[in-house]
């Protein structure tokens, strides 16, 4: 078993999940079974292979350019015309579980 109870608790904390006792037991079983299957990737020697983060690294880019210049197509002028305008306050706050006229409200973060 690769993943232990302790790992599940630690990863849940990183992911801002709590999980019930039952969920943790199921998670332990499922993660180990999936990771065991994933281990087949180690059959491949990838020491000379470059990682691929996204498809746009490889297609539609100007190969003669280097670094961020290759992705020039992805940038645009900082304009308002033709783009969506900023949302008015009340619209931006309309879906909030708790808000006043100006702000999202959350439980107190700092104790006095």
């Amino acid at each position: 078993m690769k993943v232990t109870d302790k790992d599940v608790a630690y990863v849940a904390e990183l992911a801002n999940l709590e999980l019930t006792e039952d969920e943790r037991t199921g998670m332990l079983r499922d993660l180990n079974s999936i990771l065991e299957y994933i281990d087949r990737l180690n059959e491949l020697d990838t020491s000379d292979v470059l990682p691929m983060a996204q498809v746009s690294d490889r297609y539609g880019v100007d190969e003669s350019r280097q670094g961020s210049a290759r992705f020039a197509y992805a940038s645009r002028e900082d304009i308002l015309e033709g783009l969506r305008k900023s949302l008015p306050h009340e619209e931006a706050l309309a879906n909030a579980p708790d808000a006043d006229d100006d702000f999202f409200k959350v439980p107190k973060v700092i104790e006095r």
């Binding site: 992911a15 709590e18 281990d39 990838t46 691929m52 996204q54 969506r84």
Partner: protein, 476 residues
């Protein structure tokens, strides 16, 4: 004229020529939904007000003798992962049960600008995570061909609605096969365009380097019309490609004679159902009969696609879903005392089992000490998988495969075994990883009358070719 059996052109022409109205079309589809959807479950929300407003606009245009846009009056459905201004958008999750977006997804806006009438929002697996639509937090979707079977996923509602004539076309999303696999299970056409071909602005993100929007339709031509409508650069999505959009409809009637089609043994190995194999082999023979040349190709890294996909997709999902914290939108747990307790409990209560599983796997793969062994390793194998296609496409114009190893399975059959469920995507995930386009077209049925799909994969930004092959196959 049966208003529920029209293609896009037939519907638009009927409205244009005043043989029917956009309103009558919408009402016929709502009637069908009322009659059928109680048992199928394809819709999560109906947007009647919006649909009536749009059909009224189209009917006035027709009455004034103005030429209708390409989708004028055509009733459509939108997968519930795409934002619709003023219409509830849940992503199939309880965490967004009451979420009403303040803006429209670009693809939806382009559909409406082209005259489409949005009937409502389609059921799907929660955050598009699933292959059977059983992970919807609301209710599963049932396959219209056999109500004991799944429609596939995650765009199960989108596929079922088209199959049951509750919409002319729908939009779905595909991250690992979520358009093509349900299209195959329900016997409709499903097209995943090239990565970057269609803007994702307003699509609720699952895995950003893999997410695509595309159509599910009754015919290849309808899929081509929708792609032509939604494709192209969008300033609101920096990953949308600045590549000219050809007239995909005009591509359809170009000849396929002499075209080279690759067949890879890796897609016909263990786990492929015999009836599916037979149907796909018959389909390949038919394409040969149409003058295509069949060329063997090798995609040797195919067996590594599923593990690669489930590391990359979950890693990206764990990051994308961090935004659901109960602050700006979505569910917030009651009675919490601290901010951190609010985050944890809101997410615990709002997310379903599969979403939590994927967030956990992705967080684990990205965590200190495991990043190189899992996430980085998967990114490197992604390069190898993509190179396989690069090499194959030097020899062939397109590649034909089964869409899924089996026809639609029974509800509950795989829901307790995540790994078995993941393997339903074995023939579809690699195209998402490589960013190439793919289409599924119906190619027969099993003895139990369940649809089988033929998948055609193409080169980057070469949707024209796969649409052309699919169209020739469909018509031939």
């Amino acid at each position: 004229m049966d208003l529920n059996l029209l293609t896009i052109d037939a519907a638009r022409t009927a409205v244009q020529e005043r043989k029917t109205t956009a309103l009558a079309l919408a009402e016929a589809h709502y009637a069908r939904i009322k009659q059928e959807d109680g048992q199928i479950g394809a819709f999560l929300t109906l947007s009647k007000e919006r649909a009536l407003e749009q059909s009224d606009r189209i009917d006035r245009m027709a009455a004034e003798g103005k030429t209708l846009p390409p989708l004028g009056g055509v009733p459509v459905g939108i997968k519930d992962v795409m934002s619709t201004r003023g219409v509830r958008t849940t992503a199939g999750s309880k965490i967004l049960e009451k979420y009403v977006p303040p803006y429209d997804c670009t693809a939806v806006a382009r559909m409406e600008a082209a005259g489409a009438v949005v009937l409502g929002k389609m059921n799907c697996d929660e955050f598009a995570m699933g292959s059977s639509n059983e992970n919807s937090a609301y209710h599963p979707v049932r396959n219209p061909r056999d109500l004991n079977r799944v429609p596939g996923g995650s765009s199960g509602g989108s596929a079922a609605a088209v199959a049951a004539d509750m919409a002319v076309v729908t939009l779905g999303s595909d991250t690992g096969g979520s358009i093509r696999q349900p299209a195959s299970f329900c016997g409709v056409v499903g097209l995943m365009p090239t990565y970057g071909r269609v803007s994702r602005y307003g699509l609720i993100a699952f895995a950003s380097s893999l997410d695509h929007i595309g159509p599910l339709a009754k015919t290849v031509k309808d899929a081509a019309i929708v792609l032509r409508t939604i494709a192209g650069r969008d300033l609101m999505d920096s990953t949308s490609a600045d590549v000219p959009v050809p007239d995909y409809v005009a591509e359809l009637d170009k000849p396929v004679r002499g075209m080279k089609l690759g067949v890879a043994t890796e897609y016909f190995g263990d786990g492929l159902d015999d009836e599916v194999r037979q149907a796909v082999e018959t389909a390949i023979d038919k394409l040969k009969g149409l003058g295509c040349e069949i060329v063997p190709v090798s995609l040797p890294h195919t067996p590594y696609a599923i593990p690669t996909y489930y590391l990359i997709a979950t890693a990206e999902a764990s990051s994308n879903l961090a935004r659901f914290d109960g602050v700006r939108y979505g569910h917030r747990a009651r009675g919490v005392k601290t901010l951190s307790e609010m985050y944890r409990r809101s997410r615990d209560e709002g997310f379903g089992a599969e979403v939590k599983r994927r967030i956990m796997l992705g967080t684990y793969a990205l965590s200190a000490g495991y990043y190189d062994a899992y996430y980085l390793k998967a990114q490197k194998v992604r390069t190898l998988l993509t190179r396989d296609f690069d090499q194959a496409f030097r020899k062939v114009d397109a590649i034909v495969t089964p869409t899924s190893p089996t026809a639609a399975f029974r509800l509950g059959e795989k829901s307790n075994d995540p790994l078995a469920m993941y393997l339903a995507d074995i023939y579809t995930v690699t195209a998402d990883l490589a960013g190439i386009p793919g289409i599924s077209v119906p190619c027969g049925e099993t003895k139990e009358k369940l649809p089988i799909g033929l998948q055609i994969l193409g080169k980057h930004f070469d949707e024209g070719t796969i649409l052309r092959v699919a169209h020739a196959f469909e018509q031939g």
